[in-house]
Symmetry: C2
Subunit: 437 residues, 2 copies
Amino acid sequence: MIVDPIKIGICGLGTVGYGTYTVLTNNKDEISRRVGRELIVSHIGTRSIKPHQNVGNTRVSNDVFAVAEDPEVDILLELIGGYDVARELVLRAIANGKHVVTANKAMIAVHGNEIFAAARKQNVLVDYEAAVAGGIPIIKAIREGLAANQIEWLAGIINGTGNFILTEMREKGREFADVLKEAQALGYAEADPTFDVEGIDAAHKLTILASIAFGIPLQFEKAYTEGISGITIEDIRYADELGYRIKHLGIARKSDDGVELRVHPTLIADDKLIANVNGVMNAVMVQCDAVGPTMYYGAGAGALPTASAVVADVIDVARSISHPQDSVPALAFQEDSLSDLPVLPIEAVDSAYYLRVQAKDKAGVLSDITEILGDFEINIEAVIQKEPRVHDSEQVLSVIILTDEIREGTMNTAIANIEALDAVSGKVTRIRMDRLE
Amino acid sequence: MIVDPIKIGICGLGTVGYGTYTVLTNNKDEISRRVGRELIVSHIGTRSIKPHQNVGNTRVSNDVFAVAEDPEVDILLELIGGYDVARELVLRAIANGKHVVTANKAMIAVHGNEIFAAARKQNVLVDYEAAVAGGIPIIKAIREGLAANQIEWLAGIINGTGNFILTEMREKGREFADVLKEAQALGYAEADPTFDVEGIDAAHKLTILASIAFGIPLQFEKAYTEGISGITIEDIRYADELGYRIKHLGIARKSDDGVELRVHPTLIADDKLIANVNGVMNAVMVQCDAVGPTMYYGAGAGALPTASAVVADVIDVARSISHPQDSVPALAFQEDSLSDLPVLPIEAVDSAYYLRVQAKDKAGVLSDITEILGDFEINIEAVIQKEPRVHDSEQVLSVIILTDEIREGTMNTAIANIEALDAVSGKVTRIRMDRLE
């Protein structure tokens, strides 16, 4: 590429900061194919590089403000967290004409109005996809994807720690305090878990979602917050009995009177998709006047999922700097970067299979079938053999087999051999199976 | 606003075309607040205006090409469907320097490479969010939201008709042909259902998803397609027994050898979220190297859901014409358009409730509680009264009540009255309930 690379400064090299460095480095080529320009990390501000961290020969300052003052840096990533220093750092970067990407929900929820006003004045971008629901592109979905709609309400599981605790309580019958300890040991919860379990973290995120959904200023101080520390196994069991799950939801709803902004444990019917979002996963449901309900699901925290959102913002900024009128290529990648990777014929695809074989009731047919599968090194995962029933005055039995993954071409031959068995009647029914893993 | 409005030409006034007109009209103010500029429909190309359609005094031509030739039109919406005329119309609009938004998956899957090349040459945008999964912003999620990632595979329920048929077969034990007839009567399936039930429609959409996920040209002709007409109740039952659901999935997967591009019935484990996407709803799961799995769920068809995606594209184009460097406002709406709608205190919020009351085992306590709720006009949805158990050498019984929606302030007073009953011990446990409707 002839044009200069876009230079990125990372402030804060904790979990998210180093995750972001890792994604920008590992997926460098894929990202360049999408942006049409190289992105390089030119400066890192961090108090210390930990032993497992490798940043090559990237310039490192132990003062994050040195990154904000570096004239080479085009986009500053604020990944230090917290309120005041982060705010000061971002305002400094903006004053110096830099675009900013942040993962800091607390700072945006509390100081966002001031920060966005400063950015407009300096004509720079401040993006914050990673601030809400980690790797789920929910800010983009609401600000852009649903922009045709009047948004009526939204409800989200937007704190993974809380969802992990409630899921464990329900599935294993464990008490709150017990699961909280485990969450802390696993690194899902902080030593001081107040922000997570009392709903403050979720309220930061909900404040942001409500603003972009309804077009109101950020008003974190007005959010109602109630935690999950009072939820007991007993209540979870009674809720189950009535057909409900208890989830820690952030709910924002617009009416003629005003906006509801509230985080609290909530019973939701167990046949709703969002009621079945478990463990540390997040999900946000958005109800709109035109499209109706939509839902967005994924990892709400963690180094790489959060980095995914940070880097998506970096790509947005880089694309809009590089190609302002036509920032996103039609097929996502630059036209001169499309790959000629071939599309495989179905015979060359690996898949697991469900097979249903109809056989005359004859001893040994199951062993004949499994022998054929064995000859082709097709592993069997499960078998059902049903009682024979009478069909056209003959005894017919159904054998159902789930297999492991195998090349489709091989399976075709195995099926032909099975169909050739005397005891087998008609065609074998074959349905592919996917583990989605 | 001082600047000129952006002028939109709608070609095709069928279900989607009129839905789009309706959304642009009904949500005019909300859209202007987001774009910072007025959008008006200045020209409609349609063979006929149906009796229920009202387009005010908008200019109407009965030749869609008149819209492509109209020098006033900034953005042309191709909503006529089909392959050849649509292609010609879009190429004409591009040649005339117009931006294009289309909902036409068939045209994009088959003629997209040619159309995008023409658009690049003329420096105009061609957006197509509505072409895949209706109102779900999946194109935006993959092209932008997940752009930091190497996408490993994606799997989607991307044909609502097929999902409706399989859901009905499983839930009601009905045969394929029977449900298909109903789907046709309901307007979910065409008189010739081949495109839907044989997977051709899904293959069009999958072709598009694979291109933007992996950066390969559109290659519809290489997609493997297998329909659901051979699926029987018997197989659905056996799959259930083994812990699986049968869904008509589009799967695209990248390996070192090539790209898999296939639509076929697929067994998936019933504890996966996507296995529980039922009826006409669509969902797409995307597996990425950094963020892991994410899922997007919503209505895949219908007038207003599809219009939601069409208009989102129109807004994208309008924003990038109007504010190329800073197209999306930080809080989704223009800074001078934020609303001062108040955030309501929790006491002013309506909610349904789960109440758990601990009472001494005393006849009449349930009727005392229900009388109090009745006094406050709080309707009861469900009650569980459990056998008394001994606690601190006293008989204690739990009464669990689900109520209808009521103002929180009212519920607070009712709870205070319940707690004041002699027979009631301690605090009432109260958890809010939400129907998410």
